[in-house]
């Protein structure tokens, strides 16, 4: 195995500074993504960061890597197309809870079911930020927002449980207030062969006055420090995924090796599609013609 040459974080310095609100959780996530890529020695040219729309989805503009800032909810679909076209690339999707667990939830579930080898980092702030503070799919029940002035009537999505039952093979949760731990989780996700979800508590300091840094700090604990916790045990992971309240786990919930979608595609055995010759062999043309006669 080739030795990994780690790259410094400056390698990924983007052309412009982030325009997130001061104190936004997403700063920590951006840094963690850069640290993770550097730790794995991924050159900017081989990294594609794909996002949808939302505050957090502006991330590709702030990192020196290839990127697609796609449509609201469609990042995971675009990312899969990129991965299937060139599976030598490292494809990381970054976005928010509204983007991934609301409008884009169909792609999220099906990408996990396929176990396609992409990494999905969701900056989960439990609110719609860029549209100035409406309830999101992860806003807790009874929380008042601009769109739920009498309190949110709907219970939130449980992204960890959803990922576990949908077939993701690397399921983790981080906290942007713990950037080093988060970077490890993201690096683990990128290195993992298969679909990796890293759901990140990334507080919105402007619109979410409930789930704040102190709120999380009082509650979170790391699964890695939990004696006897085995991340290869799917049922244990599922049980942990429902823990919410005074104690909320972060860390690696689940990881296991399973065949990835790319393994099932005969065309990909000949290397990335993008490097295949465009024209088929002449014999194929003759065969296709014969079928029509």
């Amino acid at each position: 195995m080739a030795t990994v040459i780690e790259l410094p974080i400056e390698t990924y310095a983007g052309p412009v500074d982030p325009d997130w609100c001061p104190g936004c959780g997403d700063f920590g996530v951006l840094k963690a993504v850069k640290v993770a890529a550097g730790k794995l020695g991924i050159k900017p040219k081989d990294l594609v960061v794909v996002s949808g729309i939302g505050c957090s989805s502006n991330l590709p503009g702030f990192i020196h890597a290839y990127g697609v800032h796609s449509l609201h909810g469609r990042a995971v679909a675009v990312a899969q197309g990129i991965k299937l076209a060139n599976h030598d690339l490292h494809v990381v999707v970054t976005g928010g809870d509204g983007d991934g667990y609301g409008i884009g939830i169909g792609h999220f579930i099906h990408a996990m079911r396929r176990n396609i080898d992409i990494t999905y980092v969701v900056m989960n702030n439990q609110i719609y930020g860029l549209t100035t503070g409406q309830a999101s799919p992860t806003t807790m029940k009874d929380v008042r927002t601009k769109s739920t002035p009498r309190g949110n009537a709907e219970p939130p999505i449980n992204p960890i449980a959803l990922a576990l039952v949908s077939g993701a093979t690397y399921v983790a949760r981080g906290f942007s207030g713990e950037p080093e731990h988060l970077a490890q989780l993201i690096a683990g996700g990128i290195a993992h062969r298969g679909f990796a979800l890293i759901d990140v508590f990334s507080p919105c300091v402007t619109y979410n006055k409930v789930n704040t840094y102190p709120w999380f700090k009082q509650r979170i604990y790391k699964l890695e420090e939990e004696v006897g916790y085995d991340p290869s045990d799917a049922m244990a992971a599922l049980q942990k995924s429902f823990e919410w309240g005074d104690r909320i786990p972060i860390g690696l919930f689940y990881k296991d090796a399973h065949p990835i979608y790319e393994d099932s595609e005969p065309a990909l055995r000949r290397g990335p599609l993008v490097r295949h010759p465009l024209r088929p062999e002449r014999a194929i043309f003759e065969e296709l013609l014969a079928e029509l006669m």
Partner: protein
């Protein structure tokens, strides 16, 4: 011109498509031209399937106006179609199971009852579906096609099932052929067989094969009639042709995956029908914005909404024009026939990559699903492949790579992810030359203006590259027929028919819908006397577009939106009525009253009756004239009652049961 049209009627599951395919390929191997159209329903078993196979010594470009031989696989088909068979023709049916009421036949139509079990008795027990093969054998004799050629087609068709199956099929067809030879006189067709072999191919197959030859490596789709057969073809050939074929969770994923693949550098295509296209529209604007190449095939069916899943229409033009918010560069092409489907998809990939934009190909059920013979040279191996300007490496000492650099042509050389030194973001928010968003901190109006102009400017070069339409037929015609897409062949044939009746017609057919050759089309139409639009939709969507682009209004419109494709005579009759100044009638015609009665029988009378005599009544207490359709028992032939149908509204007013 020597030609024959064979109609095969039955239910879904009767296997009539295989029978039609064998007939068509037999004719094609003999060097004849074939055009087939299958009118089918959204049902897996049952329903009424009506396949017409038109065979001619010269090229046939529609299923035509005639019915010469009917092969009826069930009673329903006899009752619906026997009276359409023209004098000199024949009705072939399995007399073990079906009855042919001779009063249904026009003069000089030959009944051909086949006692299938007696004919096939020496061959042992055969599956019921093989009654078709007996009928096919009899048909070959009656219309003078060579049996050995048919045997060779059957041999190739069943090759994968082994020699025993081949032998059984050939023996059964031969039994039918021999029985007909012993009992009937042929219908008098004499053919000159050139034995020039032509591919027999559908529009969707032509799209798929064209895409493979053009280097398509990624095809995504969600099942939707009538685009699904592209998915099926691609899936069946994916491994051999080295294509990743992705059936996705929805059309949102379909188009976004294709855009991702196109961005990453492979030629990517997706296909759908109008409903799926509606879900794709936002992403098509995305391809325009991030300048990713994309080819989308939109195979129209009857709309709106779920509409007519298995019927044809050209009703999605407004949708395709209106797809996505804002202005963005895109190309919209409507091929006119099956050979053109192959050429169009090749052209679409080149345009998509050279100009880095979405190309939408508009087909419809008729064009995509009907097979016809095409000239062998229409399918080419060495198609032109033009990828446009690609940056394969970038020396950063020359400065930062600008993905969207402002150029005179509007085309900015494209770098694929993985390229050293050319890292950039492709963003759906508007952006500057480098791809950096301009919408966040300060939306610079001049940067926005210049990048918008850069993108849109690409269309100028596209338009220069596309060949303008050409007026076919006499310059000084009485009437000019203008159409687009799949109606090309039928309009051409209608123009020829009009000429034979002394009406000089010419034909302007539009393939490139956007960008539009407004100047050239205006020049052509200004010289025309009477312009008649022909479209398979309700509102004349193209005519409206033509008016917007040229200021020219058509003098009249011939429209069809009943789900069935145009037949040449329908256009001819409409043109004559227009020239005579007759107002267009929307009244229910007599044959339509029968079809309305058939629908009533199916939904209210348990399907065991059929329409009989039709008469027209004046008002009779209703606010409009009426069709009175006599309903007859299938079993006994007894009158069961009558159905009153409004001539103007088509309303089924009343079912009056006869006193028994």
């Amino acid at each position: 011109m020597r030609e024959v049209t064979v109609g095969i009627g039955g239910a879904a599951g009767d296997g009539l498509d295989k029978t039609g395919d064998t007939l068509a390929k037999t004719a094609a191997r003999l060097g004849l031209y074939v055009y087939a159209y299958n009118s089918y329903q959204s049902v897996i078993r049952g329903g009424h399937i009506w396949l017409r196979v038109r065979i001619g010594e010269k090229r046939v470009t529609s299923h035509g106006d005639h019915l010469n031989v009917l092969i009826a696989l069930n009673q329903d088909s006899i009752e619906r179609h026997a009276r359409e068979v023209e004098p000199g023709g024949a009705v072939i049916y399995n007399s073990d199971k079906l009855k042919l009421d001779p009063t249904l036949l026009r003069n000089n139509v030959l009944p051909v009852p086949l006692p299938v079990s007696a004919i096939t008795k020496p061959l042992g027990k055969i599956p019921p579906v093989m009654q078709n093969t007996v009928a096919l054998g009899a048909l070959l004799f009656l219309i003078g096609l060579d049996f050995e050629t048919a045997a060779s087609v059957l041999t190739d068709t069943f090759k994968h099932k082994g020699q025993a199956v081949i032998d059984q099929n050939v023996a059964i067809a031969r039994a039918g052929y021999d029985y007909a030879r012993e009992h009937f006189v042929p219908l008098g067709y004499t053919w000159t067989f050139t034995h020039i072999r032509r591919p027999f191919i559908t529009g969707n197959e032509a799209f798929a094969i064209g895409a493979v030859m053009a280097g398509c490596k990624f095809y995504s789709a969600y099942p939707m009639t009538p685009a699904s057969s592209i998915l099926h073809w691609m899936a069946a050939h994916a491994e051999r042709c080295g294509i990743v074929v992705k059936q996705c969770e929805d059309e949102l994923a379909v188009v976004n995956m294709a855009i991702g693949a196109g961005y990453a550098g492979v030629r990517a295509m997706c296909g759908t029908s109008g409903g799926g296209f509606a879900l794709m529209t936002e992403a098509i604007g995305q391809a325009g914005m991030i300048e990713a190449p994309l080819v989308v095939i939109e195979v129209q069916r009857g709309g709106p909404s779920t509409g007519l899943p298995t019927k044809t229409e050209q009703g999605d033009l407004n949708q395709v024009f209106g797809a996505s918010q804002g202005d963005y560069p895109r190309v919209i092409i409507a091929p006119g026939d099956v050979a053109d489907c192959f050429a169009t998809v090749v052209e679409a990939f080149n345009l998509a990559e050279k100009y880095q934009l979405p190309v939408i190909i508009m087909s419809d059920l008729l064009l995509s699903e009907h097979p016809e013979t095409i000239e062998p040279e229409a399918l080419r191996y060495d198609v032109p492949i033009e990828r446009g300007e690609l940056v394969t490496e970038w020396d950063e000492s020359q400065g930062r790579y600008k993905r969207y650099v402002f150029t005179r042509s509007g085309v900015s050389p494209r770098a694929l992810p993985g390229t050293e030194g050319a890292v950039h973001v492709a963003a759906t928010d508007d952006h500057d030359e480098e791809g950096i968003l301009i919408s966040d901190i300060f939306t610079s109006p001049p940067v926005r203006r210049k990048i918008h102009e850069k993108r849109m400017r690409k269309l100028e070069a596209v338009l220069r590259e596309l060949p303008p339409p050409v007026l076919e037929g006499p310059e000084d015609a009485d009437v000019t027929l203008i159409g687009w897409g799949s109606t090309k062949g039928v309009i051409q044939e209608a123009a020829e028919k009009l000429a034979r009746e002394g009406i000089r017609a010419n034909h302007l057919h539009i393939k490139y819908l956007f960008p539009f050759h407004a100047r050239e089309v205006t020049e052509i139409l200004r010289r025309c006397r009477k312009i008649v639009g022909v479209e398979a939709n309700y509102s004349g969507q193209f005519a409206r577009y033509l008016r917007a682009e040229t200021g020219i209004s058509v003098d009249a419109l011939i429209r069809k939106y009943d789900g069935e494709p145009f037949e040449p005579h329908q256009i001819v009759e409409s043109v004559k009525a227009i020239l005579q100044g007759k107002p267009r009638t929307l009244d229910v015609a007599e044959d339509e009253a029968c079809e309305i009665a058939n629908h009533y029988i199916r939904t209210h009378l348990d399907d065991d009756a059929r329409p009989g005599r039709v008469s027209r009544l004046e008002r009779d207490g209703f606010e409009e004239p009426l069709w009175s359709v006599e309903i007859i028992s299938r079993e006994t032939g007894q009158r069961r009652g009558r159905l009153l149908i409004g001539v103007e509204t088509g309303s089924t007013y009343r079912w009056e049961e006869s006193a028994s």
